[in-house]
């Protein structure tokens, strides 16, 4: 933390957590904080830990969450500005591929830009599926710029529980 408060290019910019946290996944939040700390630090020099491109030139790369309960695995992805027609989902035996392109809105000539923070372009994300799923019952919905995929699990090993009576002799 000390490093980051000293870095002048970061002053006054983001990352002060707002309010008390009511997060469902505290450990995950912590990891995200740590990642951001490193990313922020290296960004200041215009370079990234792994020699990646400088901020601003990055193409659109959607972020994905995966959750599961006993019934299914749920994948959600933030894809603002895409249409369901622009998204392509492919399922293989143990992975799911989300492909798409975020197209830039038609800009007329003679425009001056002040902010250009949004990113565009095509992307492909391949996500491993941790459990066996039923490929015929996979459903996907796209609403308000968020893609939701439900991958129902196959229950093989889980046999129905049976209560066994103990007889008194």
């Amino acid at each position: 933390m000390a490093m980051r408060t000293l870095a002048p290019w970061r002053w006054g910019r983001r990352s002060v957590p707002v309010g008390r946290e009511m997060e469902a996944y505290p450990l995950d939040v912590f990891q995200r904080e740590m990642n951001r700390l490193f990313d922020d630090f290296f960004k200041g020099f215009g370079l990234r830990p792994f020699g990646e491109e400088i901020e601003g030139t990055a193409a659109f790369y959607p972020q994905v969450d995966m959750t599961e309960d006993e019934k299914a695995v749920y994948v959600t992805a933030e894809l603002p500005g895409l249409d369901e027609k622009d998204i392509d989902i492919n399922l293989s035996k143990d992975s799911i591929t989300i492909k798409g392109e975020k197209k830039e809105e038609r800009e007329e000539k003679g425009k001056e830009s002040y902010y250009m923070e949004r990113s565009f372009g095509s992307f492909t994300r391949v996500l491993p599926i941790p459990v066996e799923i039923n490929p015929d019952k996979v459903e996907a919905t796209f609403k308000k710029g968020v893609l939701n995929i439900t991958l129902p699990k196959i229950h093989k090993e889980k046999k129905e529980q049976k209560k066994i009576q103990i007889k008194s002799s």
Partner: protein
């Protein structure tokens, strides 16, 4: 490979704590990415607000401060176990100071697929005028 991919992401940024007042709702607030451009007649703003529908977003122009706010209700139920997470969900907040005089009656805002588009028409006096040069 995973690390390399991670650093390429267009990260969702949280709103800095010092520019907003204390809120009643708990949870995180994110700063949406925006594009703002200007032509002769209009200022056009695009903001990425994934997860927000037209009923969740409020756009206000008070004096010369344009504020975009969106309330996002968490979708994930507590029964789900998280296996992989890259983004957080929370409300969006961002405000801008607009220096040009805007025709307030004609502002248009539209929400589509998680992208907000606001067109702010300039007032007639703010539009650039071509001045004819007469040969002397």
């Amino acid at each position: 490979m995973a690390e390399v991919e991670k650093s390429r992401e267009a990260k969702k940024q949280e709103t800095p704590g010092n520019i907003i007042t204390e809120r009643i709702r708990t949870g995180r607030i994110y700063m949406p990415d925006v594009d703002i451009s200007e032509d002769r007649d209009n200022l056009v703003l695009y903001a990425d607000l994934p997860g927000a529908g037209d009923e969740d977003v409020s756009v206000t122009l008070e004096n010369d401060v344009l504020t975009i706010e969106a309330k996002i209700l968490p979708e994930k139920s507590d029964a789900h176990r998280l296996s992989h997470a890259e983004y957080g969900t929370g409300d969006y907040f961002r405000s801008f100071t607009i220096n040009e005089p805007i025709d307030r009656e004609k502002i248009e805002a539209k929400m589509k697929d998680g992208v907000l588009r606001i067109v702010l028409p300039k007032k007639e006096e703010a539009k650039p005028k071509q001045i004819k040069i007469h040969a002397g």
